[in-house]
C-alpha cells in the first residue's frame, strides 16, 4: 500500500514559511545597505556590513557596553543560579537534617510567586539599599543580579535534587570512607557528575534572563548600564525607521550565539523537554 505524503509536506512547508519569515526579515534588515525599515524587504536587495560598522560607532547606543553588561549580569546570575540550586539540592538529596521536608515544601510554595510581581516593592527596597551601599543600588549590575538570585533556591533546587537522586550514593560514601570532608565530596564528586544538568540549568536561566526587561528596565536607566534587551528596545522605540538596520545588526549579533548553542544541543534539548513532560 502506497501512502500519499505530499499533503504532509504541504503543511510542513506552510509552517516553515510562518516560522522563517520574521527571521529572514531580520537577516535582510541587518544586511540592508540603506539601513532603514522602509527600504527593508524580505529578500535582501544587496548586502553590506554598513549597519554593523554604524552600530559599533554610534555614541548614543554603546552596543559593546550593553553586550558586556549582558554577559556580566546574565552570566554571573546564571552561574550562581546553578551553584546555589545545586548546593541546595545536594543538602536535600544527600544530607539528613531537621526541617528537611518542611524546607522542600516551603521552596515549592515560594517559587510559585516569582519576585517580579512585587516590582514596586523591589524598586522601593533598592532605593534604600543604594542609599547605604551605593554599589548595590539602582542602576548597578550587582543590584540586579541580587534580585535575579532571589529565586535561585526556589526554581532549580527541586529539578537538581531529582537529578542528584539518580546519581548512586555509594560514590560519595566511598569518598567519605577515604576521609573526604563534606565539602570535598560536594566539589570533587557531586559537582563533576552533575555538570551536564548544571549546564542545562545555567543555559536556560541565562536565556530567560537575557530576555528579561521588566526588572532590568526599571532598575537600569542610565544608557551605559543597560542590558541588550533594554538597550535594543530603546533603540527601536526611539527612532524606529532610520535606526532599524542598526537594531537588526545588533539583534543578530546578540541572538546568533544562542541559536547556535540551541541547534548544537538540539537532540539533548528535545530529550530533556519530553523527559520532563512524561515525568510531569
Amino acid at each position: 500500500m502506497k501512502e500519499r505524503l505530499w499533503w504532509r509536506h504541504l503543511i510542513g512547508l506552510a509552517a516553515l514559511v510562518f516560522a522563517l519569515v520574521p527571521i529572514l526579515f531580520l537577516v535582510s534588515a541587518a544586511l540592508n545597505p540603506t539601513g532603514t525599515l522602509s527600504t527593508t524587504s524580505l529578500i535582501p536587495k544587496g548586502a553590506s556590513l554598513h549597519n554593523f560598522t554604524k552600530l559599533f560607532q554610534d555614541e548614543n547606543s554603546p552596543y559593546v557596553r550593553w553586550y558586556a553588561n549582558t554577559l556580566v549580569i546574565c552570566g554571573s546570575s546564571a552561574l550562581f543560579n546553578a551553584l546555589i540550586g545545586v548546593s541546595g539540592a545536594y543538602a536535600f538529596a544527600r544530607l539528613r537534617f531537621r526541617g528537611r521536608r518542611a524546607g522542600l515544601t516551603g521552596i515549592l510554595l515560594v517559587q510559585m510567586f516569582p519576585n517580579f510581581i512585587s516590582l514596586a516593592a523591589l524598586y522601593l527596597t533598592f532605593i534604600n539599599i543604594g542609599d547605604v551601599v551605593p554599589a548595590a543600588g539602582l542602576n548597578t549590575s550587582l543590584g540586579l543580579v541580587l534580585v535575579y538570585l532571589g529565586g535561585a533556591m526556589g526554581v532549580n533546587t527541586w529539578l537538581l535534587k531529582g537529578y542528584l537522586d539518580t546519581i548512586p550514593k555509594e560514590l560519595d560514601e566511598s569518598a567519605r570512607i577515604d576521609g573526604a570532608s563534606e565539602a570535598q565530596v560536594f566539589f570533587r564528586i557531586t559537582l563533576p557528575l552533575a555538570t551536564p544538568m548544571l549546564v542545562v540549568v545555567g543555559l536556560f536561566s541565562f536565556v530567560s534572563l537575557l530576555n528579561e526587561i521588566l526588572l532590568a528596565g526599571v532598575f537600569l536607566t542610565d544608557t551605559s548600564h543597560k542590558t541588550l534587551a533594554v538597550g535594543l528596545f530603546g533603540m527601536v522605540s526611539g527612532n524606529h525607521n532610520t535606526d532599524y538596520g542598526e537594531f537588526a545588526a545588533g539583534s543578530l549579533l546578540a541572538g546568533l550565539p544562542v541559536v547556535l548553542i540551541y541547534l548544537y544541543l538540539q537532540k539533548f534539548l528535545v530529550k530533556g523537554l519530553t523527559a520532563g513532560a512524561v515525568k510531569g
Binding site: 520574521p22 526579515f25 544530607l95 510581581i117 542602576n139 521588566l214 534587551a229
Partner: protein, 515 residues
C-alpha cells in the same frame, strides 16, 4: 579543643567569613549614620548567622542552604510581604514620606529669602558615585570658609580637605565625597528644591545650581495641635488621612502628604471606584483570555505539526524540526521586536507583502489578534517538540491492536494517541498558562499595552495584569505604589489558584499512572 577546630577550617571558608566581616564593617556604620535600626539589626543578624554557620564544625547542611535561603528571604519573600503591606497604604506620589519627613519638607519648601540675607557658593555632593542617593551641601561663605550642610545642620570643613575655585571659592573636590556635576545637580530636581539645612538664623536653601541663601519658614507646624499655619496668608491646615487640609473648608490641600494605612481602600477602589473598576475588570478578562488562547493556539498548532510529521516514511523530518526549532532558539525579545516592526502601518513587512494598509497594532481587536499571532509564533515550536516526543512514546502495539480490532485511523488517534499525549502534556499546559498569565515581555515589546482608550493612560486595550501594575507604579500618570501593590496582591492570589490547580491535576494524573 578550639585550636584543633580552627586547624580544620579550609581557606575558602576563612576567605568567605572574612568577606562577610568586611560587609558588616562597611554597612553597619552607614546604617547607624542613618538611624536605620531595623537595618542594623538585619545586618548584625545576617553577619552572625553566616559567621556561625561557616565557623561551627556542626552546621554542615546549613552551609549548603544558608546563602540561597538568605537571598530567597531578602529578594523573594520580603518583597511579597512588603507588597502586601504597601497594598494597604496610599504610598505613591504625594504620599512618599513619613509624617515627620512630610512636615520637614513642607517647611523647607516654604523658606523664602529675606532681603539682604547671607549668600553662599554651593556644591552638592554624594557619598557614592550614584546621584540617586542622599546628598549634602558644601557651602563657601563670603570669607571663603567651607561648611558641610545636611538635614541635621552645619559642620565646619577644614580647608585641607577641599579644593576650591580660585575666583568664586566654590568647592570643586572634597575628600571622601563625590561632588556632582551641574547636570547631575539639575537632575535632582524637586529633591534639591525642598532640601533645607537648619541653622540658628533660619534655613539654607539652594537658588539655581551653585548658590544658596539663608531664609525663613513661612509655614509653622504646631506639633501639639497637629496643624500647619501659613504665616503669609493665615490659613490653618489640619491633618487628615495623610494630608494637610485647609480648616476653612475651602478644600485646599497641601501638595505634600505622608504615607498612612488606608485599610482596604485600594481593594475597595477596584470594586467600587468606576475609574478603576472598569479598567481593572477589562484587563483581568483580557489576561485570562490571552493566557488561555495562547496555550490553546500554540498547543493546537504544535500538535497538528507533530502529527503531520509523525510518519516513518516522511523524508526530511530532521530538517523540518531543525528549522522549526529556530523561533524557539532566537531570544524572544529580539523576535518580538522584529514582529513589532513587521506590524508597522507605514513601513511594515506585513502591509508590504499583502499590499494592505492595516494598522495592525492600532485598533483594540487588531492589536489583540496581533499579540496572539506573535505569541503563537513564539510558542508553537516548543509545543511541537514536546508533542513529537510524546507521540514517539505512544506504545506501537496498542495502536496495532486497535487497528486489528477494526478501528479507523481517526478513532485510533482519538482513543489511543490523544489520551497518552494529553496526560504527558497537561502539566506543561498549566505551566504555560501560568507563564503567559504574567508574560510582560510580549505585551510591553509589541504594544506597550496600547492602544489606550481615551481618558485612560494606565490601562491599555492589550494590557495584562502584570503590565498594568507596572504602569500604575512607573507609568506616565505618576507613581501609585499602593494601588499597584494591591493589584500585585491580587495576581498572587490568582497565581496561587493556577498553581493549586496544577498540583491537583498532576496528582490526579499520578493516580491514573498508578492504576
Amino acid at each position: 579543643m578550639p585550636s584543633e577546630r580552627l586547624a580544620r577550617l579550609s581557606w575558602p571558608r576563612v576567605v568567605f567569613v572574612g568577606l562577610v566581616a568586611a560587609f558588616a564593617v562597611v554597612t553597619i556604620p552607614a546604617l547607624v549614620d542613618r538611624h536605620s535600626w531595623t537595618g542594623v539589626a538585619i545586618a548584625v543578624a545576617v553577619t552572625a548567622i553566616l559567621a556561625y554557620v561557616y565557623l561551627s564544625p556542626r552546621r554542615i547542611a546549613a552551609r549548603f542552604l544558608v546563602p540561597g535561603t538568605l537571598l530567597l528571604l531578602a529578594f523573594q519573600v520580603f518583597p511579597v510581604a512588603y507588597t502586601i503591606n504597601t497594598a494597604f497604604t496610599d504610598y505613591g506620589d504625594g504620599h512618599r514620606l513619613s509624617r515627620s519627613e512630610a512636615v520637614a519638607q513642607i517647611q523647607a519648601d516654604s523658606v523664602v529669602e529675606q532681603p539682604g540675607a547671607k549668600r553662599y557658593e554651593l556644591s552638592v555632593a554624594t557619598k557614592g558615585a550614584d546621584a540617586s542617593g542622599s546628598f549634602v551641601f558644601f557651602l563657601t561663605d563670603a570669607d571663603g570658609k567651607v561648611q558641610r550642610g545636611d538635614t541635621a545642620g552645619l559642620t565646619p570643613v577644614p580647608d585641607a580637605e577641599v579644593t576650591k575655585d580660585p575666583i568664586t571659592g566654590k568647592v570643586i573636590t572634597v575628600q571622601g565625597w563625590h561632588v556632582l556635576t551641574g547636570i547631575q545637580v539639575n537632575g535632582l530636581g524637586e529633591r534639591l528644591k525642598s532640601f533645607a539645612v537648619p541653622t540658628k538664623d533660619g534655613f539654607i536653601k539652594s537658588v539655581g545650581l551653585s548658590q544658596a541663601y539663608v531664609g525663613q519658614f513661612t509655614m509653622k507646624y504646631d506639633a501639639a495641635a497637629h496643624t500647619m499655619t501659613d504665616t503669609q496668608t493665615g490659613t490653618v491646615y489640619k491633618e487628615s488621612d495623610g494630608d494637610f487640609k485647609a480648616a476653612d473648608g475651602s478644600g485646599k490641600t497641601l501638595p505634600i502628604g505622608w504615607k498612612v494605612g488606608v485599610g482596604l481602600k485600594n481593594f475597595g477602589a477596584v470594586v467600587t471606584d468606576g475609574a478603576i473598576r472598569g479598567p481593572f475588570f477589562r484587563v483581568l478578562a483580557w489576561t485570562l483570555a490571552f493566557a488561555f488562547l495562547s496555550v490553546a493556539t500554540t498547543f493546537g498548532l504544535g500538535l497538528l505539526l507533530a502529527v503531520v510529521m509523525d510518519h516513518p516514511k516522511l523524508r526530511g523530518r530532521r530538517i523540518y524540526s531543525s528549522l522549526l526549532l529556530l523561533p524557539y532558539a532566537l531570544p524572544a525579545f529580539i523576535s518580538t521586536l522584529v514582529w513589532q516592526s513587521m506590524y508597522n502601518k507605514d513601513f511594515g513587512l506585513l502591509n508590504k507583502l499583502f499590499g494592505t494598509h492595516v494598522d495592525w497594532l492600532g485598533g483594540a481587536w487588531a492589536a489583540r489578534g496581533s499579540v496572539l499571532l506573535t505569541n503563537l509564533w513564539l510558542g508553537f515550536p516548543y509545543m511541537f517538540l514536546v508533542c513529537s516526543g510524546l507521540l514517539q512514546a505512544v506504545p506501537q502495539e496498542l495502536k496495532e491492536v486497535a487497528r486489528v480490532d477494526g478501528a479507523s485511523p481517526l478513532r485510533v488517534f482519538r482513543s489511543v494517541t490523544m489520551p497518552t499525549v494529553l496526560i504527558g502534556v497537561m502539566p506543561l499546559l498549566i505551566a504555560s498558562f501560568g507563564y503567559n498569565f504574567n508574560n510582560f515581555n510580549v505585551i510591553q515589546l509589541l504594544t506597550k499595552g496600547g492602544p489606550y482608550p481615551s481618558g485612560s493612560a494606565t490601562a491599555g486595550q492589550t494590557d495584562i495584569l502584570i503590565s498594568y501594575t507596572y504602569r500604575l507604579a512607573f507609568g506616565a500618570q505618576g507613581a501609585q505604589y499602593g494601588l499597584s501593590s494591591a493589584i500585585s496582591f491580587l495576581i498572587f492570589i490568582l497565581v496561587g489558584l493556577i498553581s493549586y490547580t496544577g498540583f491537583r491535576q498532576t496528582r490526579a494524573l499520578e493516580e491514573v499512572y498508578a492504576r
